[in-house]
């Protein structure tokens, strides 16, 4: 019962300091989410050269609930005839909360016959994935997926 010997515990100034500390902590927790969304948008804008991608035609096939963020199977599909006149030139995948916004960029040709690419990626935490497809006519399309990660990548020692 040391508090009997410490008359300062009920000092109103002390209370104020604690309150301010709590407010700062709350700010620190809320801030990153907004910053990440901004960073993601900035990374996509840098990739597209500032042009807006229209939502649609792009599908990100990924589990909504991921057990292991070290290897998350992802399939990107774009609705395209993949003919010489109309095909997908590139698909870029971005993430919201890994240390880097880029995940991978794929260059396709009409020889592919179908616009579908699969790989395995790392996810540091629950977050949003965005894929941007560039068509042969230069138009941009986007698709997104939200993923909940229970075991994050980057935490374990030797994988």
């Amino acid at each position: 019962m040391h508090s009997y010997n410490r008359p300062d515990v009920d000092d109103p100034r002390r209370r104020r300091v604690i309150g301010a500390g709590g407010a700062l902590l709350a700010l620190a927790i809320v801030r990153p989410a907004r910053a990440d969304a901004g960073e993601l948008a900035a990374a996509i804008a840098a990739y597209t050269g500032g042009r807006e991608a229209r939502p649609g035609r792009v599908t990100i096939d990924v589990a909504r609930l991921v057990d292991n963020g070290n290897a998350v199977p992802v399939t990107l599909r774009v609705d395209s005839p993949m003919s010489a006149a109309d095909h997908v030139r590139a698909i870029a995948l971005f993430n919201e909360r890994n240390p880097e916004r880029d995940v991978a960029r794929f260059a396709l040709t009409e020889r592919c016959g179908r616009a579908e690419v699969s790989t395995r990626i790392r996810l540091a935490t629950s977050q949003r994935l965005v894929a941007i497809a560039t068509m042969s006519d230069g138009s941009l399309w986007s698709g997104a997926a939200d993923v909940v990660v229970t075991l994050a990548a980057c935490l374990e020692g030797d994988i």
Partner: protein, 106 residues
């Protein structure tokens, strides 16, 4: 030489679309992790994968640290003609490896 696993379906008919799967043994060290001594482990990733059919690029990928260790890629290819497929991986520290496979048409 890193171990690779390349799957090219055989016996495809002309015009058929097959899925080509490639895997290469590589740690894809992100450069964001600390080693046992507390120092950051330097980045060592594969940056680029290219698939060519008789020298013509049919599919390419630019990889970043967010791609899992032992990068796996699966992509489609329309079989118009027989030929030789060349798979090239390039990465940090001058990493370069090439594998070849035969694409047959039945």
């Amino acid at each position: 030489m890193a171990r690779t696993l390349v799957t090219v379906p055989q016996g495809a008919k002309r015009g058929e679309i097959v899925e080509i799967r490639v895997l290469i043994a590589h740690p894809m060290e992100t450069g964001f992790r600390a080693g046992p001594d507390g120092q950051r482990v330097p980045r060592d990733i594969l940056r680029r994968f290219t698939c060519r059919l008789d020298g013509e690029v049919v599919f390419a990928a630019e990889l970043f640290a967010a791609v899992s260790a032992n990068p796996y890629l699966a992509f489609p290819l329309r079989v118009d003609r027989a030929g030789t497929l060349t798979f090239t991986w390039e990465g940090d520290g001058g990493f370069a490896q090439t594998e070849t496979a035969t694409l047959a048409v039945s």
